[in-house]
């Protein structure tokens, strides 16, 4: 009886291997041998049509029928294959690669011949938006400079990006020579617009940048036709740009700080993400005013806040004591959310449907804070208001830099922004007032002149 049990145990051990039982292997070999000839002919035909396209060397898995599927799928599509760089490269049906049961794969083909990865196709680069060398040569060099810096994250923060871009535009205007056959206004307008279009292929425009450019172009458009000296025009434009920077950016930040100070009290524990200039100034001012609060910083691997200067700035001038700071990884934000009193997020843009655009991950944090009933506060200047209503990050694809695909064929998109739905946001602090997040439309009616850009 005991021996029985031991045998049972052993057989269970060996028999609990996953299928298939050995007999199936042998028959598959036979079938494989029989079908070699047929396959060779078929593959030779396929190979001819795919001469230019490199393919992965076939993997050694023997029970995988997928190598056949993508190659024939591609053949059946025959659409513009240039932008198919992201498509899964077909494993060239090598004569020696054992692919089982062609019959099954054919059925799969018929069912989804036109399918590519749903998710991969979301991130396909749009045609015409790729960086083309010809575009770059037409670009005014300082613009290209700024573009590269923005793209490589040297200039971080929407406000500084905007300011740098406007500086470059000022430079452009100063050096602008009216081309023959057109007036100053029209010439400048057309050239500036063209430059900006080219710049958009170099780097993604943040909302602040787009809004600033749009404002300028509208202003140019509304300027009276020039019959005066070019110098006057140039000066006027330069003044307008300066005024924009001061009014919309610098003063706006100060106003936000004033409003925001009401929200930070002694003894508060504040969780902070997506640090923008406004948010940073608010924290610094609160520290300077002597409010003793505690800061919980959410860090992600991609966007490490410079802890050293943050701590420097947060030193209280009176007691030489810094604000207490903790740093937590994004994945463990939940660990700390219970002990926090509020969540502060720096916004990059505000939309008409109340959605707020901020650094990727803020939607998640807003949801977490909402679940634990903590108020979620967004800080956003008015010049970042945008006349769109995206429901998620995808319509913002201009703001996603191109993602690189690794050699291993999986897609690793770099999402830098995301949209938080308005029901998760408690209040948005702007330079005009503190608004609920769907207060954009009302604000626009009140504000004179500056219509937000429709991008």
């Amino acid at each position: 009886m005991i021996a029985n049990k031991m045998n049972q145990a052993e057989s269970k051990k060996s028999g609990s291997l996953p299928r298939p039982p050995p007999s199936e292997d042998i028959s598959r070999d036979d079938v494989r041998a029989q079908r070699e000839a047929k396959k060779l002919a078929k593959v030779a035909r396929k190979n001819k049509s795919f001469k230019g396209k490199l393919a992965n060397p076939p993997t050694s898995t023997s029970e995988n029928e997928h190598p056949v599927v993508p190659s024939t799928a591609q053949k059946s599509l025959k659409t513009g294959t240039t932008s198919r760089a992201l498509e899964v490269k077909p494993a060239e049906a090598n004569p020696s690669s054992p692919s089982v049961s062609i019959g099954v794969s054919a059925d799969l083909l018929k069912s989804d011949s036109a399918s590519s990865s749903v998710i991969h196709s979301l991130f396909k680069p749009k045609k015409g938006k790729e960086l083309a060398q010809s575009n770059v040569s037409k670009l005014y060099p300082p613009f290209y400079n700024v573009g590269l810096k923005v793209r490589n994250n040297v200039i971080r923060g929407a406000n500084s990006q905007c300011v740098k871009l406007l500086d470059a535009i000022k430079d452009y205007v100063r050096c602008y020579d009216v081309p023959p056959g057109t007036t100053f206004k029209h010439g400048l307008f057309a050239d500036l617009e063209g430059n900006m279009k080219n710049l958009k292929t170099v780097c993604p425009f943040s909302i602040s940048m787009s809004n600033a450019v749009q404002f300028l172009l509208f202003y140019l458009h509304d300027m009276p036709d020039d019959d005066g000296k070019v110098i006057d025009f140039k000066n006027e434009i330069l003044d307008v740009i300066d005024q924009y920077i001061v009014e919309k950016i610098e003063k706006a930040v100060e106003a936000i700080v004033l409003y925001g100070l009401e929200k930070i009290n002694d003894g508060d524990k504040i969780m902070v993400y997506s640090i923008t200039e406004a948010l940073m100034s608010l924290l610094v001012k609160a520290a300077e005013d002597g409010i003793s609060y505690e800061l919980i910083l959410i860090q992600t691997r991609e966007t490490k806040v410079e802890l050293a200067d943050l701590l420097e700035k947060l030193k209280k001038p009176t007691s030489d004591q810094t604000v207490r700071v903790s740093a937590v990884n994004f994945s463990s934000a939940l660990y700390k959310i219970r002990s926090c009193s509020k969540l502060l997020i720096g916004g990059h843009g505000l939309f008409t449907n109340g959605g707020v655009m901020a650094q990727s991950g803020s939607g998640q944090l807003a949801l977490v804070a909402d679940t634990y009933n903590k108020p979620v506060v967004f800080l956003c200047e008015t010049f970042k208001f945008c006349d769109r209503s995206p429901l998620d990050f995808l319509p913002l694809e201009e703001y996603m830099p191109e993602q690189f695909q690794t050699e291993d064929d999986f897609l690793e998109p770099k999402l830098i922004y995301d949209v938080t739905p308005s029901n998760l946001v408690t209040v948005v602090i702007t330079d005009i007032d503190m608004l609920p997040s769907n207060g954009l439309a009302a604000t626009l009616r009140v504000q004179e002149g500056g219509t937000p850009a429709k991008l």
Binding site: S360, G361, G363
Partner: protein, 329 residues
């Protein structure tokens, strides 16, 4: 001589296991479970015990000892506690052989005297240990056997971090149906990339996203399939950090969540607190703060916990290697 060596064998194994636990020299709880099982086997084979009571006492003591060595790892104690139960059952069956099979009831008044010496108990227990070890080995595959029932064609599945069980599950499902996988690479170890490479080798279309992007992508996901470190007694999970947030998002978007767990992950413990400071591991926060900022450390507290507690209401379905259940059970 043989007896002495057998005894010292299991003592040595126990010491080694304890040391690895204390020093954190282990990678996966599966490895811990197998080592514990081997240790128990050696003990049972030796002559250090005479009756069932001594075995169970030893098992309990060892479970406590191993838990003290590494509080965050519950796999060893799970295995040992399971063994205690098995020993009890074996004892009862042995005892009731020859007589009528009396089903042991929870409310039975008779106190069972485990100190009775039964001659064949040793081989019984050894057989049970063999069963358990084969279950351990094939845990991932047996869970994967059900893969096609749960995943339909053309679905977009999201998974978090890297789990061997989930890997086998997805590969198995991919053989039948076309599917797509989004992997969230989670801190602090960011193992998602390895899983992505492995899955693309099996021709599954993979996308690797940051944990910050989970909210944005959630609306496009059909199901979430995750593995976990432990399943607690109340149905909650002790999973990799970041899981709770992502599952909260899933709840918000009403995406069903499947949790795959092998039997050695089931723990009879209840969570001490939702923040799990006691049974959590903290690792080096080198991702968050550079060494060059080292002198700032006095003013900054940096946390990098490894685990997260997930409450049971965020999970739709558990898939164990023996059966499938919801958290209501």
């Amino acid at each position: 001589m043989a007896n002495a060596s057998k005894e010292s064998q299991y003592i040595i194994l126990l010491q080694q296991l304890e040391i690895s636990l204390k020093r954190g020299r282990y990678v996966r709880s599966h490895e811990l479970a197998t080592r514990t099982l081997r240790l128990a086997e050696k003990y049972v084979q030796s002559d250090s015990w005479k009756n069932a009571e001594e075995v169970m006492q030893w098992l309990e003591n060892t479970a406590d000892r191993l838990t003290k060595a590494a509080v965050s790892e519950s796999a060893p104690s799970n295995v040992l506690k399971r063994l205690i139960k098995t020993v009890q059952e074996d004892f009862m069956t042995r005892k009731n052989q020859g007589r009528m099979h009396t089903i042991s009831r929870l409310d039975s008044d008779t106190k069972v005297d485990y100190s009775e010496e039964l001659p064949d108990l040793r081989s019984d227990i050894l057989g049970a240990i063999l069963d358990l070890s084969s279950e351990l080995e094939n845990g991932a595959e047996s869970i994967a056997e059900d893969a096609e029932k749960h995943i339909n064609a053309n679905e977009v599945i999201m998974t978090i971090g890297r789990s061997r069980t989930v890997e086998a599950f997805l590969k198995r499902a991919a053989k039948i149906n076309k599917l797509e996988v989004i992997i969230v690479k989670c801190g602090p170890f960011y193992q998602g990339k390895d899983l992505a490479k492995s899955l693309t080798k099996s021709k599954i279309k993979t996308t690797l996203i940051n944990d910050t992007a989970a909210f944005s992508m959630m609306s496009r996901v059909d199901k979430i399939v995750i593995g976990t470190h432990t399943v607690l007694a109340n149905g909650g999970l002790k999973a990799i950090a970041g899981c709770h947030q992502i599952l909260l998002t899933a709840k918000y978007f009403n995406v069903p969540v499947l949790v795959l767990a092998a039997s050695y992950k089931l723990s009879p413990e209840y969570p001490f607190s939702a923040e799990m400071k006691i049974t959590n591991r903290f690792v080096s926060p080198e991702e968050l703060i550079d060494y060059k900022d080292g002198d700032m450390i006095d003013n900054v507290q940096v946390y990098a916990p490894v685990f997260d507690y997930v409450p049971p209401e965020l999970v739709s379905l558990f898939i164990f290697n023996m059966y499938v259940s919801t958290t209501l059970n």
